[in-house]
């Protein structure tokens, strides 16, 4: 497996320093581009650290199959979104890289009275991992290092906190404690039983065997009770939390807040655009849906419900019994066109909530101005915009960054929601929410495209989310394209790229008379990249014997 090989080479190369402990995706592979701020980052500092919180090691505690990896990845996604420079260090990756492919750690590796060779091996692996953590925090402007390991003993944790303190790093322990048998088995079933060891075995039996194996391999585990340490104990996957606050800072509270909204149930999120309005190019006029817009709303509803019914049937077949649908909740903004797009669903009895935070990006002075006019009125702004389309705001307008900050409460509710969720919003809002779930960089966000004839479905997975596109048939092609770029507002009938070379971020109203001539010819709809680098399944299979 490629990732493993690379990891192995890296671990053994004396001068090589890993950028993270895996080589997988955007969450794990942090961008080295220093000037690039995170989507919802409020400000930047010389040190690259935020909230006056200093450098923090978040140290995971918990036996395998306690969902530590899920917590690490979700937390890292959220912190990176806030602009906190965060990296995850999975100790297991170092162990695997050190013992080599197919290698095994000695039987007594986790025993308290292990043999000297086992202790030496353990030390070697730990040392390599810690060195990388220090390199990240000391030399690469990292602020948070998430250290994913079992850390089973109180003595070990005390020593670790002392060592980090010596390096001027604050430690926050995060224990995932599970004593609910059901949750344990569920976790074991979901992640671990694809291992060849359990091939062909009844899933329940495999889960039990697996859990029993953990207990023999790691005989000593002490849950956290150390009064002098900062720790958060997440009990039974978020059912309860206990925290011991010696010196919590803002970030720690923020993390607890985030965790109280996290759940481990699987559910999907759908994104769709609002239908075409009567005054499509006006931000200020809160125009109602046009006839095409209403027809779009009906077709979208039909497609979505059909799709959900299909999924349910498939699930039922696989399970061998009828599976009920997860409830669906609909969120719209407070803009008429999004509310009206949700009306057919509302009439069918689905719950529709209006969220004022979800209103579209404000185009400010650019509204209704022709490209030429903007170029001549604000030449400097156009230049600045080209340099940084994510953060730049035209006079009186909002930038994407402003939008991301405004959407923060929505993002937390998105994490909390246990129902399936349909979000009907302006493309600018979809870009930002999609970017959160799929971890897109700020350079790409303004360019993401959401054509009207597609419903985007996001399905959560262990390491990274999956995105799927569902085609809505039978739409008038002129209403399909996404608004070309950034805050540019769609003008029906003008194919992208017509006329002047496009200025990023500006609208291209039709030249007089041009509108009719260029009408609904065939339009090549720019499809968004299927942005899924999901090698997660292999990754999980690879981590099957994961008892780090």
């Amino acid at each position: 497996m490629d990732t493993l090989l690379t990891a192995e080479i890296a671990a053994n190369a004396p001068r090589y320093r890993r950028r993270s402990s895996t080589f997988i995706d955007g969450i794990h592979d942090v961008s080295v581009d220093e000037g690039n701020m995170a989507p919802a980052q409020l400000y930047s500092t010389m040190s690259g650290r935020l909230f006056h919180s200093g450098r923090i090691a978040i140290v995971m505690v918990g036996l395998p199959a306690r969902g530590k990896t899920h917590i690490c990845v979700s937390m890292a996604r959220y912190l990176q979104w806030l602009g906190v420079k965060t990296r995850i260090f999975h100790l297991g990756d170092y162990r695997r890289a050190t013992v080599g492919e197919g290698g095994q750690v000695p039987q007594d590796y986790f025993y308290p009275n292990a043999s000297p060779t086992s202790v030496m091996l353990r030390q070697k692996i730990l040392k390599k991992c810690r060195e990388d953590i220090y390199a990240w925090l000391n030399h690469e402007n990292g602020q948070v290092a998430i250290y994913d390991a079992v850390n089973p003993t109180a003595a070990g944790r005390r020593a670790l906190a002392k060592e980090f303190a010596k390096h001027d790093v604050q430690t926050l322990y995060l224990e995932s404690f599970v004593d609910d048998e059901e949750i344990l088995k569920e976790n074991a079933r979901n992640v671990k039983i694809s291992s060849p060891d359990f091939h062909g075995m009844d899933p329940n039996e495999a889960a039990e065997r697996y859990l029993a194996r953990i207990n023999t391999k790691i005989p000593v585990f002490e849950t956290m009770q150390e009064e002098e340490l900062n720790y958060v104990k997440m009990i039974n996957a978020g059912q309860a939390f206990f925290y011991n606050n010696v010196s919590f800072n803002y970030l720690s509270h923020r993390i607890v807040f985030y965790l109280t909204n996290l759940h481990i149930k699987s559910r999907t999120t759908f994104f769709v655009r609002a239908g075409v309005a009567t005054e499509e190019d006006s931000y200020k006029a809160d125009a109602p849906l046009s006839e095409e817009g209403k027809s779009y709303a009906l077709k979208m509803t039909e497609t979505l419900l059909r799709h959900r019914e299909q999924e349910r049937k498939q699930l039922s077949e696989r399970a061998g019994q009828e599976v009920p649908l997860r409830p669906l909740t609909v969120w719209t903004s407070t803009r008429l066109r999004t509310i009206q797009t949700g009306d057919p669903l509302k009439e069918k009895g689905y719950k529709v909530r209006q969220r004022s935070q979800m209103s579209q990006i404000n185009p400010g002075v650019c509204e209704k101005l022709s490209e030429r006019a903007i170029r001549s009125l604000y030449p400097e702004e156009v230049e600045k915009h080209e340099l940084d389309p994510y953060h730049h705001r035209y006079p009186r307008a909002e930038s994407y960054h402003d939008l991301a900050v405004r959407l923060e409460p929505i993002i937390l509710e998105l994490e909390r929601e246990q129902n399936d969720l349909l979000i009907i919003a302006h493309e600018s809002v979809l870009r930002v929410l999609y970017a959160y779930l799929m971890h897109c960089s700020t350079r790409d966000i303004p360019k993401l495209k959401f054509p009207r004839d597609e419903i985007i479905e996001i399905i959560p997975a262990a390491y990274q989310n999956d995105a799927k596109r569902i085609h809505i048939p039978g739409l008038d092609p002129s209403t399909v394209p996404g608004s070309p770029e950034d805050i540019r507002i769609l003008v029906p009938g003008s194919p992208p790229g017509a006329g002047l070379p496009a200025i990023p971020g500006l609208s291209t109203p039709p030249e007089s008379g041009a509108a009719e001539s260029s009408a609904p010819v065939s339009i090549t709809v720019a499809r968004p990249p299927e942005k899924v680098v999901n090698t997660a399944k292999e990754m999980v299979a690879d981590k099957v014997a994961d008892e780090d």
Partner: protein, 444 residues
């Protein structure tokens, strides 16, 4: 877990109503927490109200002595129970009229009492979250007793020393029966937040929805170290001179003078050169107002502090608005808090976008905010608990620095005038005047 009810075909009907039930011995800061939570929620336009059982009990027994609270005192027990029942009955009535978060401020110190409250309230379809403040720090408790309780209506006109003594006996009577939540492991099904020793240890159990997590997060961010918040509008702008709203103009000459005077005003108010953190909006006039502040003050710009967006009316005078959009002008005066300018914002919208600012403010210490009339009104309303009817009309004169110091039962305000002339931008209901003087008792 008692998740939300669904009807099986994926349609869900629900409207969250939450009863926050305070738990804890007297003098543990329950009322402080209740007050703050109520103020915060109301400010977010979430209908919230506190029902203090003590107030109900006082109708019946205005100045009880400590043995009234002895569990062996059957008469006292009966009266206290009746007071709790009356408070809950009123709360349930209030929920029916549209209440969302009701806070029951009482000791609720026994399992039986909690179960009774839980049953009574959940029967009416209201979720319950218990919030317990548990504190064993003698010194803190004594400070609390002296500060708050000796001024309590229960001890009005009594010798403070005697009152404190009596109050401690009262606490001891409560201690006899007090059980902390889930002490015996049989209250694990409750949704609760237990704050121990002023936040040193916290237990959060079975949070069931976002609003609950929001309340919990807010309570976690509270701190009780003394601090102040300073508020100032930007100096007079060129558009202020013309009586135009919004825009992104620079400062007038007098506005620039204010910017130069501001450091002195701040120094006078702070009383030392300890640095403040300065938050401005992203508009020219606030940044220019902050430019002469000492270099060791950290300055941050927040988009969230930008002035209320007047949409199509941006840059107009009130007269022009009344001429061009007469209906809108009238609609705005009728419900200024909810009125949203065409293509712009309402006060309600501004409050929503200020949410992260308030959270930052609560956890921070000394902050100076330089922002705009509508935004300062909203922040002021948060601290002073102004209603939605009042807050959009609060006079916030130019060239004036305000210092807000939160105290146990309310916020103290001091104002510092720069004595630099500026136009008035306050406007009375129905008026289209460019520069109008606020009511005679004006100023905040």
């Amino acid at each position: 877990m008692g998740g939300p009810k669904t009807n099986g075909i994926g349609v869900q009907v629900e409207d969250t109503k939450i009863c926050v039930v305070m738990v804890g011995l007297p003098a543990r800061g329950k009322s402080y927490i209740a007050q703050k939570a109520q103020r915060y929620l109301k400010w977010l336009s979430i209908p919230a109200a506190t029902f203090n059982v003590g107030n109900y009990r006082r109708n019946d027994s205005p100045h009880p002595s400590a043995d009234f609270f002895d569990t062996n005192n059957a008469e006292g027990e009966r009266k206290r129970r009746a007071a709790a029942a009356a408070a809950i009955a009123d709360m349930l009535k209030w929920f029916k009229s549209g209440g969302v978060v009701g806070i029951l401020d009482a000791t609720n110190s026994t399992k039986e009492r909690r179960k009774w409250v839980l049953d009574t309230v959940t029967k009416e379809g209201v979720e319950v979250i218990f919030v317990e403040s548990k504190c064993d720090d003698e010194e803190l408790i004594m400070a609390n007793i002296r500060d708050v309780k000796t001024t309590s209506p229960d001890y009005q006109g009594q010798d403070p020393e005697k009152a404190a003594l009596d109050f401690r006996t009262r606490i001891r009577n409560y201690e006899k029966v007090y059980r902390t939540i889930n002490a015996d492991g049989d209250e694990d099904d409750l949704t609760y937040l237990k704050i121990m020793n002023v936040g040193k240890q916290v237990i959060i159990n079975r949070i069931r929805d976002y609003l609950q997590s929001r309340i919990v997060y807010y309570l976690m961010n509270l701190h009780i170290r003394p601090r102040s918040v300073w508020l100032s509008r930007h100096g007079e702008s060129m558009l202020n001179l013309e009586g135009r709203i919004g825009g992104d103009a620079g400062l007038s000459l007098r506005g620039q003078e204010y910017a130069r005077k501001l450091p002195e005003l701040v120094l006078e108010s702070v009383g030392s050169d300890r640095p403040l953190t300065v938050w401005t909006s992203t508009l020219k006039r606030t940044i220019a107002t902050a430019r002469h502040l000492p270099a060791h003050y950290n300055q941050l710009q927040w988009k969230a502090l930008d002035e209320l967006d007047a949409g199509v009316c941006d840059g107009m005078t009130y007269q022009e608005i009344a001429d061009m959009y007469p209906e809108d002008f009238q609609a705005r005066d009728e419900d200024k808090y909810n009125y949203r300018y065409r293509g712009g914002e309402s006060y309600r919208d501004v409050v929503i976008r200020l949410e992260p600012i308030i959270m930052e403010l609560e956890r921070s210490e000394d902050i100076l905010i330089i922002s705009h009339q509508a935004v300062i009104r909203c922040i002021y309303a948060y601290f002073m608990q102004k209603t939605q009817e009042e807050s959009p009309w609060v006079p916030v004169p130019l060239h004036t620095l305000m210092k807000l110091t939160p105290r146990a039962y309310g916020t103290e305000v001091q104002t510092y005038k720069a004595n630099i002339k500026a136009v008035s931008t306050w406007r009375g209901k129905g008026s289209t005047a460019k520069h109008e003087d606020p009511s005679p008792d004006g100023g905040v």
